[in-house]
Symmetry: C2
Subunit: 221 residues, 2 copies
Amino acid sequence: MSKAASAPKGTGRKPASWTQDPEGVRRNILTVAKEEFVENGLSGARVDEIAARTATSKRMIYYYFGDKEGLYRAVLEEMYERIRGFERSLDLASLPPVEAMTLLAGFTFDYHAENPDFVRLVMVENIHHARHLATSDRIAALNLSAIDMIREAYERGVAAGLFRPGIEPIDIHLTISALAFYNVSNRASIRQVFGHDMGAPEALARRRAAAIDTLLRMLRA
Amino acid sequence: MSKAASAPKGTGRKPASWTQDPEGVRRNILTVAKEEFVENGLSGARVDEIAARTATSKRMIYYYFGDKEGLYRAVLEEMYERIRGFERSLDLASLPPVEAMTLLAGFTFDYHAENPDFVRLVMVENIHHARHLATSDRIAALNLSAIDMIREAYERGVAAGLFRPGIEPIDIHLTISALAFYNVSNRASIRQVFGHDMGAPEALARRRAAAIDTLLRMLRA
DNA sequence: GACCAAATGAACTAGATGGTACAATTAACA
DNA sequence: TGTTAATTGTACCATCTAGTTCATTTGGTC
């Protein structure tokens, strides 16, 4: 990936003579930082630990990101921008209403299941009352469009007599998200309390089908 | 509540001559600790801060709970035991299937909405991979019976031709919990990203109705 | 009222942690 | 080739933090 990350592996120390690679260093830091924040949260993550696992030094973290919170915010912003990219790639408008909703629910479920890192970071951010989302210009400029996409497909469905009227698009989104989010976010406690492993392929597949089915039943006229 | 907590308010220091009150001190510590862990998580909470807000001293925290994790575990155990108590108070078996499910979904939704502290602690514990739930004997002995209650009501519903067969009780539980948990756990980020305040009474009421309705539609034959 | 275990107070500490000072090296460009 | 801003390395520090030491007081028991 990044030049810096692939350069000196064994020692962890750069040679006396090195080559500049701002972007590489930045990426390398972000990658490691994400893992740390995902695993330990904002308060639990250690700057020294991040620095140690990096191909560069603690000095550079502060050079590029200012402080620990700045680094955390950068990680958060990157993650949300990534989602935004996936979201844009979905073309619900070209599908019939029921298929559009099925696709959206399935995609949302899969994205959460395949990206527990995302789920964990959102949990961490919520523990902190989304204070960093609130103060990030990059995220404010993002304009997540999930709700608009849902509204469009839903209204087509209502017009076609497939969906019952009177449902708020935000409620559709919340239902989809809740079902996708919960069994990733709470996988550990569910396993402890009920002895049920949500990570197992069969459990996951059944849950996926249930999520889609639940959504469609909620929408149907 | 506790004698210790109500004794010397202004100064925070006990008089030269004090009276022993083990249970009061214990309760006082647990109450303050819960607030701190709920607000800042396990890593973010500060033992000194907890001690300062207590009517007693840091010394007593370590005397009664061993270490920070011991205190956290005690808070967690108390919370789960409280849930268990509420759970037992529900008498689904004496209600018709549909009413039983409606009651359970409504109760679960309300409990989460009214106890964001509970939701936040569960989030914190999941960030830590439920490691403390796993090592707690008190919680292992709890035998949460939600699943059994659901199975009983569900099977009666199927027998009466009201519910469709083939649904796993755990899936019913997961659907109920997900819908109740998500809009409390993710309230902050939802508000930032979508500008939608889940705490507002109307939003909450609509969401409550949607949760119950969604569950019943999922179950109906 | 002497004795002892339980309960409590006050001060202290070793190590961790976020952050910095200072200096050196590199790369772009006149 | 000399100048300069952007990058990077090394060593360091002030403060915070979990946990402890040592001594004292209380309340029950014989």
